[in-house]
Amino acid sequence: MKNKKTQIKEGIQFHQIETNKFKTNLFAIFITLPLTRENVTKDALLTAILRRGTKNLATQEEISKTLEEMYGAGFDCGIEKSGDYHTIKFYLEVINEEFLPEKENLSQKGLALLFDIAFNPYTEKEAFQEQYVVQEKENLKQIIEGKIDNKANYALERCIEEMYQGKPYGLYKYGYREDLETITAKDLYAYYLEVIQKSKIDIFASGQLEANLEEIVKENPNIQKLQPRNVNLSIEENKEEQIQVKEIIENMEVTQGKLVIGLDVLAKQKNVTYITMLYNTILGVGSNAKLFQNVREKASLAYTCSSNYSKRKQIIMIRAGIEIENYEKALQIIKQQLEDMKKGEFTQEDIQNAKNLIFSTIANIEEEQDTEISYYFGQELAKSNVTIEEYRKKIEEITKEQIVELAKKIEINTIYFLRD
């Protein structure tokens, strides 16, 4: 097994991925908690506050200076939706010492700093620093308002929001402007303490790792103060077919219309995620895909038209940028592709092409440090343990019959169009 997983404490896992492909070592901490309307904005605010200062390095300036001294160690943190969960992600990347002008062990230093940022924040009187909270609330407000800036992403967000009204997955990962006023530095800190003591924590290390890294992690004072926790993440609920397709048209100043179509995967067959991956690739990934061929190449209606599959939610999102007056025409062609999939109107060659594409995605996992970490984190969340070889084999075995069976259980949930 390439990913060596050990439990540090109940609910806290340490994953070591040994690899010599990179000039860097990458460390990551993922804190996973339920996604709720009540806390969504606080989660996003936390990522912003934590990067402001630690007990040892009280200001962002000191943190930045420390990172720069470490040959520009890369630090980032952010927040992602993982199905109905919210994951706060921290990353720190350091250069492997063999590529430095003068030898220096940056890995231990980097890992300690990462723990400090995540688990040892700068506080004053049992609260986050007031000024930091005020500033970060303002910044987050602007990020939330900035949702409209990228029209294509905005359209995608809106479509998902419509598909999951009142449900966790419909929430915007950065939260909501109206929540910000009521969050105080004290409440947020209390919430933070609860988050780090109750949430699932996954720590990742990738690169040419030291043999005693596990000990180093266990002995880190920040890790020692974490309590064991019982975390049982639920797997997704069953989906039911929607009675009527939602169709939403909204206006904004755009020169190009942004069309988004959300599909539900209602199939329950064995290996459904792997079969859906193949279905999605034939439909909308790459230039051989039905969407690209028919919407762009044959009808010349779009520059982009593709689809994307979210495993955890069992949905496929189709996106196209089109001339506004071509809405009906594009929609009709896209619907026709879905019908053709149901009728099995695709060849063995289409299937093989799609498999080849997925094989290269699989082969690529190990070639990027963050992608490899994400893969193993996905396995962790899905409570599965599929190796990269097994993954490939599962794709290899899928037949046309299975894809057609699945296609019959794929239905449009929402059609969203952003136009002028």
Binding site: L67, Y71, S287, I322, S360, N364, E367
Partner: protein, 422 residues
């Protein structure tokens, strides 16, 4: 064959020039499962006026031709599209056009040989018809529409408009709906025959392979072409001064976006050292730990560290600071003040720290074979050997950097481009 090795970064590049003029750069790496091949021609959006080497005909081409040609190269006489063929092999294929070059590339974990053959086939066999050229106009018009809605792109184009009066870098890479309407197959063939000659091209392959074998494979697929003389490219003369200090436009954005730019002179000497010094300086001025960034962040004027870029070829050179702010003018004023302060009071410790950071940034570039190959290609076309960024690093002194600060970050060469909210 020439071999250049960097002991610091532990990489080697093998350089071979074939008889027909094609240059090949090979970077073998045993630790990856992948191979990445990129074939570039020194032909970009700025090359809109030139003299054909054989006929000596002087040609003006419509804006957006290089990019249009890139789109059309995939189409084959047998009705197939090479991009589809490559994707069907499971390789990740693509192409792109920049100001100064066009490149065709793919990345493979399997079927590399078939893919390389396909790449070399389609790049060497153009097939343009009236019909297929017409059809492409609709697709490219949509691509242009996509950029029209992109505030970041509009901001950048306006910054270039401030920096240059006549320079061809101001031409939108994709052209305009109007300019591409004038493109026909004759124009495409003229450009193809001029710029897609091996002597104007370079191929880079990076990944897991044997050098000699790879060279053989490439050689075997090259078709014979008569030697070609030099292509004379005609550009507007270099302008010392900026075009205008300020330009703004309004779009539906939540918050204004800005670019503060400084025009640099072209054809400066020691471009690698100059580039390193400028990167260090940009970081000293507005990097994460810089006093100015800390101040503007505290004041809520900057939300995130601006992007720092230095772009240059023989035809243009400029420094760009781009970000979002509710008060772009304040950012510019504060930056100019900070430049003045650092000119008078150069902080050596800060310099050493940013130098380390910039070194780390260069090393990280070598994490990914695609990044390596693309970097080698882009640098080669600028007549730069990429490893020099690592090798010459130590030679960038505080004294030299101070001198560059005085020279490049000049208030008279400063522009501001703003996209305002409606």
């Amino acid at each position: 064959m020439k071999v250049i090795e960097s002991l610091k970064i532990k990489e080697k590049v093998y350089i071979e020039q074939f008889e027909n003029g094609l240059t090949v750069l090979l970077v073998p790496k045993t630790t990856t499962n992948k191979k990445y091949a990129i074939w570039g021609t020194h032909f970009g959006s700025i090359d809109n006026h030139f003299i054909m080497p054989e006929t000596k005909e002087e040609v003006y081409v419509p804006d957006g031709v290089a990019h249009f040609l890139e789109h059309k190269m995939f189409e084959q006489e047998n009705g197939k599209n090479s991009l589809d063929t490559l994707m069907a092999l499971g390789v990740d294929a693509n192409a792109y056009t920049t100001n100064d070059h066009t490149a065709y590339l793919f990345e493979a974990t399997q079927h590399f040989e078939e893919a390389l053959e396909e790449l070399m086939d389609y790049v060497q066999h153009p097939y343009f018809t009236d019909e297929n050229v017409e059809k492409e106009k609709g697709i490219i018009a949509q691509e242009i529409g996509m950029y029209d809605d992109d505030p970041a792109w509009q901001l950048y184009m306006n910054a270039l408009d401030c920096l240059y009066k006549e320079n061809a870098i101001k031409i939108d890479i994709a052209g305009t709906v109007e300019s591409i309407s004038k493109i026909d197959k004759e124009v495409l063939y003229k450009c193809y025959n001029t710029f897609y000659h091996p002597s104007n091209m370079v191929m880079v392959v990076c990944g897991n392979f044997e050098v000699e074998e790879m060279l053989k494979k490439i050689k075997a697929k090259l078709i014979e072409k008569p030697k070609q003389g030099e292509i004379k490219r005609i550009y507007a003369p270099a302008e010392k001064e900026i075009h205008k200090p300020y330009k703004e436009t309004q779009m539906e954005v939540s918050q204004p976006a800005f670019i503060v730019g400084f025009k640099d002179r072209v054809e400066a000497e020691n471009m690698v050292q100059r580039h390193i010094a400028i990167e260090i300086l940009m970081n000293m001025l507005l990097g994460k730990s810089s006093p100015l960034y800390q101040q503007l962040y505290q004041e809520g004027i900057l939300l995130a560290q601006p992007d720092l870029d230095y772009e240059f070829t023989k035809e243009y050179a400029h420094v760009l600071f781009s970000g979002q702010s509710k008060e772009p003018k304040k950012v510019q004023e504060a930056l100019l003040k900070e430049i003045q302060r650092q000119k008078e009071n150069f902080d050596q410790t800060h310099f050493e720290r940013m130098k380390k950071k910039v070194y780390g940034d260069y090393v990280v570039e070598y994490n990914n074979i695609a990044d390596i190959a693309r970097m080698l290609l882009a640098d080669y076309l600028k007549q730069i050997q990429s490893f020099d960024y690592i090798e010459q690093f130590q030679s960038v002194t505080p004294e030299y950097t101070k001198q560059i600060l005085q020279e490049v970050f000049d208030e008279k060469k400063c522009i501001l481009s703003v996209v305002k909210a409606k």
